[in-house]
């Protein structure tokens, strides 16, 4: 094997990416920007997990109607994520509890994790990106 064969242009490397979403959807631009970066990452065939914790759990609520505030309703995009092979969606149990929310209130199927499970998931990532 030559030295050239050891070099890699980056294609074919799959890293574990976690996108950590901690902001409510419309008061800041973080949620929308985070969603767009997730879609870009998926286009590079990476191993993507999306995590929703703290006010980030509000991003996934059903029944969002943004007509009155005249901004884009991107909540339906979460339902399209599995079309981009993004199927690992996690929410934090304590964040849901603190906001009076249950899985039935959410627009997509998620895996609910305890804080310890969430910590382990974070620890095993190659890259964590926070929004």
């Amino acid at each position: 094997m030559s030295d050239m064969d050891d070099m890699d242009d980056g294609s074919g490397i799959v890293k574990k990416f976690m996108f950590l979403n901690r902001k409510a959807p419309h008061g800041t631009v973080y949620a929308l920007e985070g969603l767009e970066v997730v879609l870009i990452t998926a286009a590079f065939d990476q191993d993507v997990s999306m995590v929703f914790t703290d006010d980030g759990v509000y991003q996934l609520l059903k029944g969002i109607d943004t007509k009155g505030i005249e901004v884009k309703d991107f909540s339906k995009t979460y339902r399209a994520l599995d079309g981009y092979d993004i199927e690992k969606l996690y929410v934090d149990q304590a964040s849901m509890d603190a906001r009076g929310l249950t899985e039935d209130d959410l627009i997509v199927d998620v895996t609910v994790l305890s804080v310890d499970e969430m910590a382990n998931l974070m620890a095993e990532q190659d890259v964590v990106i926070s929004f």
Partner: protein, 99 residues
């Protein structure tokens, strides 16, 4: 006096600061991410309901709807539209935004 809060009570301390400073008979209008505080099950729900004894609490309807919270508003919270927002500003001698 009209107090306006626009940040989530589970992200910032502005609602708490506002409620500590608002005197009896004042109005508090929750807008943008602050509206979550005025919903059933929120961590701030008890504080809002306690405050409603001495203060008039309002929440902006379009911001509730944009957050999927239109059907979860706490009892004792008055929902207003943009015209109602303008009326509140006009009715009160002064206004404080808790940015």
């Amino acid at each position: 006096m009209l107090h306006i809060v626009n940040k989530s009570a589970t992200d910032r301390g502005s609602l708490e600061s506002c409620l500590a400073m608002a005197t009896k008979g004042s109005a508090v209008l929750l807008i943008e991410d602050a509206v979550y505080a005025a919903t059933n099950g929120s961590a701030a729900a008890a504080k809002i309901q306690a405050a409603a004894a001495d203060l008039k609490i309002y929440a902006l309807g379009p911001d509730l709807a944009a957050r999927g919270m239109a059907a979860r508003v706490l009892d004792g919270v008055n929902v207003v539209d943009y015209a109602g927002f303008v009326d509140l500003v006009a009715e009160h001698k002064s206004c404080q935004s808790w940015l």
